[in-house]
Structures are given as C-alpha cells and as structure tokens.
C-alpha cells in the first residue's frame, strides 16, 4: 500500500552546484509569485492581435499565444497560483495527517484501530482518484483543487506520522524517561513530538514538488483555475491546438513545471539527507 505521494528519492544529486541552482530556482519562483511585475514584461492578459502566435524573439522571449498575449509574462504570473496550490495542499496534508497520526499513536487502542482502518481503506485508493472525487463534489477551481490534493495526501501522512510516533514511543530514551519518573505529558511534549515531527516535515518538502506537479495536471485537465487566469497547466492545455505552428506555447509552461519540481526534489532530498545524517543510526 502507498504511504506517501513520492517514493524515496535518496539518490538524487547532492552536489553543491546542484543544490545552489535548486535554491536559486526556488528563490526566483518566490519572487515571481510575490512581485510578478518585477520579472514580467507585460500584463498577463494584455491581448495584442497583431502578435498572435508570434515566434520567439526579443519582444516575446517565449513567443505569444493565439490572442497575442506574451507567454513569458503569463508564465511569470502563473507562478503564484501554482506555488500556492502546491504549498497549500502540502500544508493541509501535513497538518491534518500529522495531527491524526500522532493522535492514533498516543490516544489508545480503540482510537488507533478505528483511525488506522479508515486510513487503510483510503490508502487503497490512488491519491488522484480521491482528489478527482473531491473535485467532483466541490466543483473545479483553484481553492477546490488545493483542498482536493491536500485531502488526498492526508492518509499517507497519517500513516507516516503514526509510524514515527510509535518508533519514538518504543525507543530507549522514552523508556528511560519513564524510569526517571517524567509525567506522560512531559514525555509527549519533550520527547515524542519533537522527535516524531521533524522527519514528517522533511518528507513533506519533497512532496511540495509532487503536489505542484499534480496541481498542474488537474489544471491541464480543466479542473483547476479556469481561463483566462494564467496557470502553467491550463496554458499548456490551451497551447495544444497550436502544436504545429507555435511549439513555445506548450514547451515553456511544461519546462517551468519540470524545473520547479526538480528544484523542490533536490532541496527536499538534501534536507532529508542532512536530517538523517544528524540522527544516530542514520549515518
């Protein structure tokens, strides 16, 4: 059964230049999301029939679409929504999942049994199917996409954080704290939580990339933000009609998604490796 959105990516390149490049990409994306006008050359919805399907050139570094809108500027403006959905979905998944997972591990047998059986059932579904079902109920749109992707990833995080909490609870140091006479609450807040949560958060950094990819997939299918909102997935879907004449319409938005996901993976894998190197036994 699945535990996580993304299978372990521990063999990712961890060379210094790759890491610096990845952080630079994330910084640029954050800039584009916060102050898109600093990077963009035109408003995202400035229609210019004269340059419809214009090729790549000095005026239009990524070309122009069927309405003459500048693809580069639309890609820059698209960063905000894509990143928000990716981050938002991961935040929902981690916070709800970790809460329920740690609860399951500590609240006693019955609660654990019930929660884990439900999780087992949900884990039997692929994440995207769950997300699609949520969208079927709530309807398309960016907020619903975020909720759908977040909820779909919750079961994986319940299982992960429960596992982490159980490992810590059975550890020698928690038993040592019991022998030292620490109270249950002190053990929970001083040992179990601080040791069980960080690995879950580190795992989540990798999943931001996956959530980003999944959100653009949903937009591509027409289930995310609706046109004319600039968003990478929906831009690519629109550009498909012009594959023959203007390949820039599909190549660039997809390239940006790929680069963004790579950056998330590299940074996430690095954080994970550093984290595992810090804990004993993880060397």
């Amino acid at each position: 059964m699945t535990t996580l959105l993304t299978p372990v990516a521990a063999t990712l390149p961890r060379a210094r230049p790759a890491l610096i490049a990845a952080w630079a990409v994330l910084g640029l994306l954050a800039l584009a999301a916060l102050w898109p006008d600093l990077l963009a050359t035109a408003p995202p919805d400035a229609v210019d029939p004269a340059s419809a399907l214009a090729p790549i050139g000095p005026d239009h570094p990524f070309g122009a679409d069927q309405l003459g809108r500048d693809v580069y500027s639309r890609v820059v403006h698209g960063a905000r929504l894509s990143l928000l959905i990716g981050l938002g979905a991961t935040t929902i998944a981690v916070s709800v999942g970790a809460l329920l997972g740690v609860l399951a591990a500590t609240a006693g047998r019955t609660a654990d049994e019930v929660l884990m059986r439900i999780t087992d059932v949900l884990l039997a579904f692929p994440g995207l199917l769950l997300a699609l079902l949520v969208i079927a109920v709530l309807g398309p749109g960016p907020v619903n996409t975020t909720i759908a992707l977040g909820l779909a990833a919750v079961p994986g995080y319940v299982r992960l954080s429960r596992g982490q909490a159980l490992v810590v609870r059975e550890s020698g140091y928690v038993r040592a704290a019991v022998v030292l006479g620490r109270s249950r609450a002190a053990i929970f807040f001083r040992h179990v939580l601080p040791n069980a949560l960080p690995p879950v958060l580190v795992f989540a950094t990798v999943d931001i990339g996956t959530a980003l990819m999944a959100s653009t997939s949903l937009s591509f299918l027409g289930l995310g933000p609706q046109p004319p909102t600039p968003e990478w997935g929906s831009m690519l879907a629109e550009g498909r009609d012009y594959l023959d004449s203007a390949w820039g319409l599909t190549v660039f938005p997809g390239l940006v998604v790929t680069v963004a996901v790579i950056a998330c993976y590299v940074v996430g894998a690095h954080l994970r490796a550093r984290f595992e190197g810090r804990t004993p036994g993880g060397r």
Partner: protein, 311 residues
C-alpha cells in the same frame, strides 16, 4: 497455514470494506454536491416542474436518504451502477466498454517502464560512476516532468514533425506506443532510483560478501541475489504504482484523445455526470483492492520472511 488463512480473511474483509466505503463516500458526494441532480439529468435550461417531478420519481430521488442508500447497496450487489445522465446508457456498460483500453495502456506502460529500469539499475548499481551520475540526472528530470507535458512533446515530435505515429486514437500497437511511452518516462526515473538504491544496499550486506567469498561472479551475484532484494521495495510500492498508472491514464487519455476510464471520469466530472463518477470510483476501488491483494500475495513469494508473519 492458519496465520496465512487468517491473513487472507482479514484482507478480504478489508476489500469489502473498501468497496463499501467507496460506495458510501460516492453516495454522500452525490447528495453533498451543489445543484440538483435531476436538472443535470434533464439538461435543458428551464424544464417544466411536471417533468422535474417525474424524473425525480423515476430516479428514486424522492425517497428518504436511508432508503436511497439501501437501494444503492442493493443495486451494487447485482452489479447495477445506474444510468449515465449524459450518455443515457447504463454506467456498467460504459465502464465495461472503456476499461479494456485503460488496462491495455497500464500494462504496456508498466512493461515499458520496468524493463529499462531493471537494466539500468543492474548495470549501474555501485559501479561505473560516470554512467551512474548521468543516469541519476536523467532519472531526476524524467521523474519531475509532468506526464501531460511529456505526452504533448512526444506528440509534437513524433506525430506532427516526424509523422511516425497517429496524433489521436489509432488502433493496435501503433496507437499505443506514444501514450504508453509518455506514461513510462516518469516511472522509469522513479523505478530506477528505487531499484538501484535497494540493490546497492543488498550488495553491501554480509550475505553478498559471503556469496562473493564462495566464488560467485559479479553478474550472478546481482541477478541471483541482489535483484530479488531490489524488487522487494518495488512490490512495496505497487499501491503507489497502480495509483500512478491510473492517474497517468487520466492525463494520457486526454492528451492523446484515447478512449478509456480516465477520460470518461474527467468528462463525467466536468459534465457533473455523477452516476458515472460514482461508478468509476466504486469499480476502481474494487480493482485496486484486488490488485493490492494479489501484490501482497506476490510479496510473500518474493520475501519468504513474511510468510510466517500474521499481517
């Protein structure tokens, strides 16, 4: 033996639970969804009140919720999934006609992804640093590229520019190559990473040292000992893989305008054709549970240590 039987019973009970859960969630979804399903069935903008009432009675939507839920479960047992609002055909029939396409695509993608991954992992695990590094970078790129983008690029190059394969539809192998390839690319990256990592771990184990000390050659060691250990995590990932194959199908079928369960689902969601959505969800849930069960049985074949354990 007893423990294996108990394990199987437990898994079957879980399977029934999953399907029941799927049906319940889908039923709840139908009633939670904003908008009146009756109007969705009729489709015209301003139907007469008389027509609305008649359709409501026809669909059984005038009954109390508990009765409707009971009826849904009753129909499920007999394999009746209701009728599509938009296609005006029984949902079971729609699914039956589409599922083959998706299964075909999934199988082709899996084979297309596994073969090169095993080859890459066996040849590069723990040696040939230059090739290994190159392979690692390629894996990262393919694993990070969204399937819809890969599919679109393949279309642009092989259909529009080189005109080697049909852009849409296409029967037989010809029409299968590009969609399966588009799906396989992303999987190759992840498969190779997982396989190589576990293979390197296996080659570092004392039993590998023992085997080498017996005069076992490097290739034999990799194929006879390490590969089997490397496959264990792939089996563990099978749930994720089936999920990825289905998610991939949803996207790829849209990109290549291919018939299949995925595209049917997307169309149904966009058109608010809820019986089809529910039908696909319930069938997919049953299917995934079945696949998981088979895979778990397979797991016990690959790893004998699990045979004695109760699940």
């Amino acid at each position: 033996m007893i423990s294996a039987l108990r394990w199987l019973l437990r898994r079957l009970a879980l399977a029934v639970l999953v399907v029941l859960g799927a049906a319940t969630v889908a039923f709840a979804a139908l009633h939670l969804a904003p908008g009146d399903p009756v109007r969705a069935v009729i489709g015209t903008l301003n139907p007469s009140q008389d027509l609305v009432d008649r359709v409501r009675v026809d669909l059984g939507l005038d009954q109390p919720l508990a009765t409707q839920y009971g009826q849904l479960l009753g129909r499920l047992v007999t394999g009746d999934l209701g009728e599509s609002y938009q296609l005006h055909r029984p949902v079971a029939e729609v699914i039956a006609s589409e599922i083959g396409w998706t299964a075909q695509l999934a199988m082709a993608s899996l084979v297309l992804a596994l073969a090169p991954s095993v080859l890459l992992a066996v040849t590069t695990a723990g040696r040939r640093p230059a090739l290994r590094r190159l392979s690692t970078v390629l894996e990262l790129i393919t694993a990070s590229s969204p399937t819809f983008w890969i599919g679109t690029l393949l279309l642009a190059v092989f259909s529009f520019r080189l005109r080697l394969f049909p852009a849409a539809g296409g029967d037989g192998i010809e029409g299968l190559v590009l969609p399966a390839a588009a799906q396989a690319v992303g999987l190759i990256g992840i498969f190779t990473q997982v396989l190589r990592q576990s293979m390197e771990r296996a080659l570092d184990e004392p039993f590998a040292l023992s085997a080498r000390a017996r005069g076992t050659g490097e290739t034999a060691l990799r194929l006879r000992h390490a590969l089997r250990h490397a496959l264990i995590p792939v089996v563990t990932l099978s749930g994720w893989i089936t999920g990825a194959l289905f998610s991939g199908a949803v996207v790829v079928e849209t990109v290549f305008s291919r018939p299949g369960l995925g595209r049917t689902l997307v169309t149904a969601i966009l058109g608010r054709d809820l019986p089809v959505v529910i039908g696909v969800v319930v069938v997919a849930a049953a299917l995934f549970t079945l696949i998981n069960l088979v895979v778990d049985l397979l797991y016990r074949v690959v790893d004998p240590r699990l045979r004695e354990q109760a699940a």
